[in-house]
Symmetry: C2
Subunit: 197 residues, 2 copies
DNA sequence: CCTACCGATCGGTAGG
DNA sequence: CCTACCGATCGGTAGG
């Protein structure tokens, strides 16, 4: 009669989602089994279904949660009064920090969303596309105002977003530089690559 | 009595590997089944085993082939007589072109290598680590010679390698800029981010 | 290259 | 939350 131990501030479902993110991060969605997950939580697989509906729903919940956070952030950044290049830098820093401190969730939503079931697959794809468009629009604004080098905005977005996902390697590396130094290095390389001299 | 159609220049095994790369790229290694693969090749699943030993071996062959290509290239670049920053640019361009023209193989080896079985998992991890070290060494050389901005070399490598994998999005995008323009844009952003003013 | 088939594992349910 | 279990699918083999 083992029980899922959840801390005071989170429900059992949240505890399951958290452990699932770690597991999906490590093994990938398809290779991770519900029996795997149950074992990590100290219960039998069948017991999980008292708290969640399906494996597919777990993935959906993780992906949508992450998507909402990024959308909320870009809305705030867009509304602020500041140069476009600074907006881009803020977006970049948000991505970096999420990848440093919440990397399992972000990584899973980034790499495993293809395994979402419809209609969430289409929905997620659309959220993603929309986010990237808005990100690119900020870069284009920077190009127009001559704050940013004349480059293809979509390419820049693609580089930035994928570069950030490289933080996954940093997590697994044995000789880590500090999180702050990592952030500054990334900002230096990526923002300087954009900035107009 | 369907037969695997292989072109003049390739064996049936090579044809299987090629189709497998496309399939693993699309679905991921675990979600792709041997029955999937067989169907795409127009034969029954059991027939594949006359040409390959196992699903695991297919992944291993793809990953090792890609690894060898990159290692052969870095050896050539290291041996050339030119400024470090130009060596870095050459490595970058090689990665970009591979991702443009052979993206299924590269993408699979990059994203699915975790599913390799031992001893290949350890071997591949080591090849990867070694390659990154050599890449980082070239960047460090550039920093010492003051051709490159003073940044953490490992971080730079991590950014560059992951940024390049973003070309996958470019493949799937509906409004593609040309391959040449993509390459120049990536080089601009990434190399300018490194170059010392 | 195919038919026929195996043992293992999967996500999930019934019922308590 | 557990025991017991199901149907589906998987990688792979035997034998021709």
């Amino acid at each position: 009669m083992a029980k899922i131990k959840s801390s005071e501030n989170s429900t059992k479902k949240e505890t399951i989602l958290e452990e699932a993110a770690r597991l999906f991060y490590k093994k990938g969605f398809n290779a991770a089994s519900m029996r795997d997950l149950a074992e990590r939580l100290g219960v039998e697989a069948a017991s999980l279904y008292n708290h969640i509906h399906s494996k597919a729903q777990i993935l959906k919940d993780i992906c949508m949660k992450v998507a909402e956070e990024f959308i909320a952030n870009i809305e705030q950044v867009e509304a602020a009064e500041q140069p476009a290049i600074q907006k881009v830098e803020e977006l970049l820093r948000f991505h970096i920090r999420k990848m440093i401190y919440k990397y399992e969730d972000v990584y899973v939503s980034d790499r495993e969303w293809k395994h979402l079931a419809e209609p969430f697959l289409s929905e997620y794809r659309e959220l993603r596309r929309n986010y990237r468009k808005r990100f690119a629009a900020l870069i284009e604004q920077g190009v127009e105002r001559q704050e940013i080098n004349s480059i293809n905005a979509s390419t820049a977005v693609l580089i930035i977003l994928h570069a950030v996902s490289g933080i996954e390697s940093w997590h697994r590396s044995t000789q880590k530089i500090t999180a702050d130094l990592l952030e500054e290095n990334m900002v230096t390389i990526l923002v300087e690559g954009l900035r107009k001299n």
